[in-house]
């Protein structure tokens, strides 16, 4: 038998790599573009998420509401129904990351494809993860954000990869100045300045480690995540029923070398032919390109046929569902829902807390968009369900008055899209003065920094002459800040800019936030009467 590899499938393989590179590039371009670009409205930089049927389905179930933008997920569903898991192999940016590193690890001889692992049980993991996520969403607990590939990738990039890039960029810029080529240094500094890359995230180190860990799993098995863990891949696997292009092995040419199955990226088992798992195949064409005798082909066959799919034992299914049923209340054992947390300041436009948790997929889009780095992945602020959901940390950044970027980029509507005019009316919390730390109240000297930065007009921070007794017994009457809670929007710029840096003398808490009916300070009925649309204004 003449040994010759197929040029056609080698070409298809290269086209597939181009496609993966292009889609990853697009994903990364949209990620880098998710910042203030000079315009108030940013466009649909979050569009990748809307093609994800897993996010579409789970958030719809968990929140009992369909979000219109997810109509695009229908495209992915239709493609998969007809052609199989092309999207995993040709489009998914996380899949491309895994394939890239699998390739690197193979070249480095860290990953050695061994004789096919006959046990299929690990392939079933991802289906069980999918079922757990779906069942939990039935109980209105949205766990998809922890496992969805796009959420995982975006969150890892936004909170770990981009900050690392930013810091490497800064070090590089510093190096250019160190080498006494300041014109290059200036160019680099302006370039990185234009990208406005956020550099600081709480948990960024751990989120980065998690990402690194998942990448390193590829040393154990090629595309480990895609094979064993990905719930979105599992969903597409279930949808892949027709698979118009089907793998066929010409047994007259086949020398039974088993290379195709050995190098299959997702354990779809092209050989023996009748054991091909159409639900696992991502159409990477590695098998057809690697075959030494051109025996493996993908002819188009419209006829459905018996499909070899993953056998999920009923026992496991029931067990997983039962676990998910338990998991739902398990995630709720927390005082978080009992009363509003003072430091849980959500982005403007965030839905009321229970609704917010049902919709937020922890993707980190809002955190990437935030111009002041204020939005941070929560750890314990919002209970277990709320891990990695966005929380505004005034000590890191503040809410820019004329900015509604986070509301525009939220892919699920957990943060309601707002115009600038709508956004400036939203109150996300209230500011409080800690008189035992505030410079005028304690030292009797002037400061006014909080008042100066307060963005509302009239200002929510008023300056009042206050008698302060100093340590020598003398009395000073400096201007000291007092908050008008009707006007305060909780943006946090006062806390951020307070010169008492370690523990600011003015700070924001969530009370009074527009989105909550319970986290109130004063009922409207007992507020002094003001004319509608006329906030109290001492200047008038």
């Amino acid at each position: 038998m003449k040994k010759e590899r197929s040029k056609k499938y080698r070409a298809l393989q290269l086209i597939r790599i181009l496609s993966q590179t292009a889609f990853f590039g697009l994903f990364f371009y949209f990620l880098l573009r998710t910042h203030f670009t000079g315009e108030d409205y940013i466009g649909r930089v979050e569009v990748f998420f809307h093609f994800d049927p897993l996010l579409a389905i789970t958030t719809a179930i968990a929140s009992r509401v369909l979000f219109a933008s997810f109509i695009l997920a229908a495209v992915t569903i239709v493609v998969t129904l007809v052609a199989g898991r092309f999207v995993c192999g040709w489009v998914c940016p996380l899949g491309s990351v895994h394939q890239f590193f699998s390739h690197i690890f193979k070249k480095a001889k860290l990953l050695k494809p061994r004789k096919e692992d006959k046990s299929r049980s690990r392939l079933a993991w991802k289906y069980l993860i999918l079922i757990a996520v779906l069942v939990a969403s039935l109980f209105a607990v949205d766990l998809v954000g922890f496992a969805d590939p796009l959420s995982f990738l975006y969150r890892s990039f936004a909170t770990a990869v981009v900050p690392v890039l930013a810091r490497v960029g800064a070090a590089f810029t510093g190096l250019l100045y160190g080498l006494k080529i300041p014109s290059f240094g200036d160019a680099a500094a302006q370039f990185f300045g234009t990208l406005s890359l956020n550099q600081t995230y709480q948990q960024g180190f751990f989120l980065g480690l998690l990402f690194l860990g998942v990448v390193l799993l590829n040393i154990s098995k090629e595309r480990f995540w895609c094979r064993y863990l990905c719930p979105a891949g599992a969903l597409l696997g279930i949808l892949a029923r027709w698979n118009v292009p089907k793998v066929r092995i010409d047994m007259e040419k086949c020398i039974e070398c088993n290379l195709c199955t050995l190098h299959c990226q997702t354990q779809a088992n092209p050989f023996p032919n009748e054991e091909w798992r159409s639900s696992e195949c991502v159409y990477c064409y590695t098998c057809a390109a690697i075959c030494p005798t051109k025996a493996v082909r993908f002819p188009v066959k419209a006829t459905p046929e018996k499909i070899e799919s993953i056998n999920l034992s009923r026992r496991k299914l029931i067990l997983t569902s039962a676990l998910a049923v338990v998991a739902a209340p398990f995630f709720k054992i927390t005082p978080a829902a009992k009363r509003a947390a003072a430091r849980l300041i959500r982005p403007p436009g965030a839905l009321p807390e229970p609704r917010f948790l049902q919709k937020c997929v922890k993707c980190g889009e809002c955190m990437k968009a935030c111009p002041t780095n204020a939005l941070q992945p929560a750890l314990d602020e919002a209970g277990p369900e709320g891990i990695w959901t966005p929380v505004l940390k005034p000590r890191i950044g503040y809410c820019e008055y004329y900015c509604s970027l986070c509301t525009q980029v939220c892919p699920t509507g957990a943060i309601k899209e707002l115009t600038i005019e709508e956004k400036i009316k939203v109150k996300i919390g209230s500011a409080w003065v800690n008189k035992s730390r505030c410079i005028p109240y304690v030292l009797g000297s002037p400061c006014i920094v909080c008042e100066e930065h307060c963005p509302t007009s009239p200002k929510a921070i008023k300056l009042v002459r206050t008698e302060v007794q100093l340590i020598d017994g003398t009395v000073q009457t400096p201007l000291a800040p007092v908050i008008d809670l009707d006007l305060c929007i909780g943006c946090g710029i006062c806390e951020n800019k307070c010169p008492v840096v370690d523990d600011p003398a003015i700070f924001c808490t969530s009370v009074g936030e527009t989105r909550s009916e319970k986290n109130r300070l004063l009922l409207d009925i007992i507020k002094p009467e003001t004319q509608p649309g006329e906030p109290s204004d001492p200047y008038r």
């Binding site: 203030f36 302006q190 007009s457 200002k459 840096v501 200047y539």
Partner: protein, 295 residues
Amino acid sequence: MNRRDFMKDLALGGVVLRFGPSLLAQAGSQPDMAMVTGESPAAITTAALAVLGGMKRFIAKGDKVMIKPNIGWDRTPELAATTNPEVIKTLVELCLDAGAKEVTVMDNTTNQAQRCYARSGIAEAAKAGGAKVPFVNEYHLKKMALGGEWLKEWEVFTDFVEADKLINVPIAKHHSLSRLTMGMKNWLGAIGGARNQLHQKLDEAMVDLAAFFKPQLTVLDAYRVLTRNGPQGGRTSDAKLQKTVIASIDPVATDTAGAGFFDIRPEELVYLGIAARRGLGQTDLEKLNIEKRTV
């Protein structure tokens, strides 16, 4: 700038330093200050410079010029929190026409720099005029001896020190600590570090900074002035149209004259008193040659 020009400047500078601004005020027929009122920010700026004897009085051929507006806040020009973009654009053009080699417009903003540069309209206008409009670059920060009475040293953006000529273009605004913020307060945008800590002795800090930077020309934008809720405003009703620019060689006199747009007597501004005591400029406008015009 060639060596001969440098020697000339040095000699002239020596004379100016020796006899102080008061002598300069009386020297020659050129006015020390122009106050021009009119409908168009560009036209009144051009006219103000013409009154002072043209931009060539300040700019030599081949100069690198730094223009320092107030771009501190993420506000539109109508809200009068930032310098009028037309004024900046006109000054850029005048500098280039006068032979400047390069004109840079920049400020260390308070809100996100990209936002302030965009919404103030200054980045677009200055670029259209032919200027470079970079963001401040932390690598250009240098701790410098300011030689002030209170501020001995602080981190300064060297761009403002290294330029051949410096033009300060503040906007006249209400401020709850210094009462008004105009030219001298504008220098807080040329420095880095923990600027918010200067507020504990703001008047002294402003004077020390003004003494350090010494602009060749100050152009106070009072096309719109901010009368309350300073220094950001927020409603158009916080701003008041005055349709005026004041251009002067004397940075203290500019701020003194600017107080006239508000119900504030110059004597009430503590920093003007300190500045006058230190001989930085004139607070007695009677002693200056001021020309007022309407175009």
